[in-house]
């Protein structure tokens, strides 16, 4: 596993602090969407399907910072849209780093080399570029519906690494993925020198147009098992090993939809990053007025039945690490040995 010790320490003390305070529901990663605009139109993405006047809007840095303060999560993920198209991305990142938030700037990396060249960012242990990579060249270009994007992303990754930035990858696996090709992809990303990889199954996201290619739970378990069962020592994942075991079907977790709350120009999204069932005006209102019992697999909600996505289940895995000695021991063993 590749999460830096300082980050692990921050997360560990934060989670333990929440538990000591008896907080049943606490956020781990704020999903901050400053805009929906993107320079790609991936078939699996429902985020960009808005009228032009909505795509032209974005949050102000002050709105973003107020959300970060209100939420209090130690990590901030900036997806979108494409965050490198956000006009104030440099200032936003600088302010977040000054607040010692661990920032994952989720980008397709088309603009990465250009923005780095303009000096928009400075390397920091708090800043990681999380580059969207859905597989090897052929698979990635097909997933993003445009040829040549894989090569551009690789170029961006190389440039960021050369300049001393932390770089991770984030990969969504859809049905039909060839496990052998995915293992090859992991090798290639490690050879590139990225710090770690994040993986997640495609999801039953009701507004995404590519429903037929999202993975059902059983198939997801089989796929992740075949990819990760004989995980190579050289592979590093920037996520909880218990979550990876969950993907392989070796553990079961209930969803923690409040774990990665989403904030965008519409407000605090209910109930989670994937389902869009309404918005709350404040984070407090989100926590207190969302009917959480209606969500997660055990609720019987058919939208949640097959979901195994990281935004709901990785917080569950992290919580499990700090809920029992066994969870802690299993996490440490998997982290140290690299065995899943």
């Amino acid at each position: 596993m590749s999460v830096p010790v300082s980050q692990m320490w921050t997360v560990a003390t934060y989670v333990l602090g929440q538990k000591l305070r008896g907080r049943k529901r606490y956020p781990l990663v704020l999903m901050l969407e400053p805009l929906f605009r993107c320079n790609l139109a991936c078939a699996g993405c429902g985020k960009i399907q808005y009228p032009a006047h909505i795509l032209k809007k974005h949050l102000t840095v002050e709105q973003c910072l107020a959300a970060v303060e209100e939420c209090g999560a130690p990590m901030v993920s900036i997806p979108g849209g494409e965050p490198l198209m956000y006009p104030d991305i440099s200032r936003l990142v600088r302010e977040l780093v000054a607040r010692r938030k661990y920032v994952y700037l989720c980008t397709n990396a088309i603009l990465l080399k250009e923005k780095l060249g303009e000096g928009l960012f400075e390397p920091s242990k708090y800043l990681s570029f999380s580059v969207h990579m859905d597989g090897l060249r052929e698979e990635h270009d097909e997933a993003v519906c445009r040829e040549g994007i894989f090569d551009q992303a690789v170029e961006g990754i190389r440039d960021a690494l050369r300049r001393g930035f932390r770089v991770t990858t984030n990969t969504t696996l859809f049905d039909g993925v060839d496990p052998g090709r995915m293992r090859q992809f992991f090798d290639e990303m490690m050879d590139l020198g990225v710090e770690g990889m994040m993986i997640s199954p495609g999801y039953s996201y009701s507004k995404a147009p590519d429903q037929e290619h999202f993975l059902r739970r059983q198939r997801a378990n089989e796929l992740f098992s075949s990819i990760l069962s004989r995980a190579k020592k050289s592979w590093r994942f920037n996520q909880s090993p218990l979550f990876l075991q969950f993907l392989m079907g070796r553990r079961d977790f209930e969803c923690t939809p409040w774990g990665n709350p989403t904030y965008n120009m519409f407000g605090w999204q209910r109930p989670c990053y994937l389902l869009q069932e309404g918005y709350a005006g404040t984070f407090k209102e989100l926590l207190e007025t969302t009917r959480w019992e209606k969500y997660g697999r055990s609720s019987g909600n058919e939208k949640c039945r097959d979901c195994m996505v990281h935004c709901g289940h990785e917080p569950s895995a992290v919580d499990a690490t700090f809920s029992s000695w066994r969870g802690f021991r299993d996490t440490v063993v998997a982290t140290v040995s690299g065995r899943l």
Binding site: A41, A43, G44, G46, Q49, Y50, P51, H53, I54, K57, C145, K207, P209, D210, E212, H213, M265, F266, G267, G278, Y279, T289
Partner: protein
């Protein structure tokens, strides 16, 4: 049925009562295009409806009107008509549609 067939673009439903209004608002909330609301004072507003809440004393919708920076909040009680006037940005953008286009382009280029 294709995605295109499912689009509500151009729909102007009759709203006879509060339950019908609530159902139409749900459709408007799911709709990925602008809508037009006719209000009780004769005003007509165009924009993107992004939220609604019926679990409060005075149910409301929220929308970004075209050209406005801040969102508006409009009580259900003031809405007389909901029309799906804007382009449905989700229609025809399925993965299957993209594959069809890609295959057609490849066939046309002979590759």
């Amino acid at each position: 049925m294709s995605d295109e067939d499912k689009s509500l673009e151009g729909w102007s439903p009759e709203i006879a009562d509060a339950e019908t209004l609530a159902a139409v608002v749900e459709h408007a909330f799911d709709y990925r295009g602008d809508i037009t609301l006719d209000l009780d004072d004769g005003r007509r507003i165009d924009g993107y409806l992004f939220n609604r809440n019926r679990d409060v004393a005075e149910p409301f919708v929220q929308m970004f009107e075209r050209g406005e920076v801040t969102p508006s909040t409009i009580p259900y009680a003031r809405i007389r008509a909901v029309r799906f006037t804007g382009k449905d940005t989700a229609a025809g953008n399925s993965y299957a549609a993209w594959l069809r286009l890609r295959q057609a382009a490849k066939a046309a280029s002979g590759s």
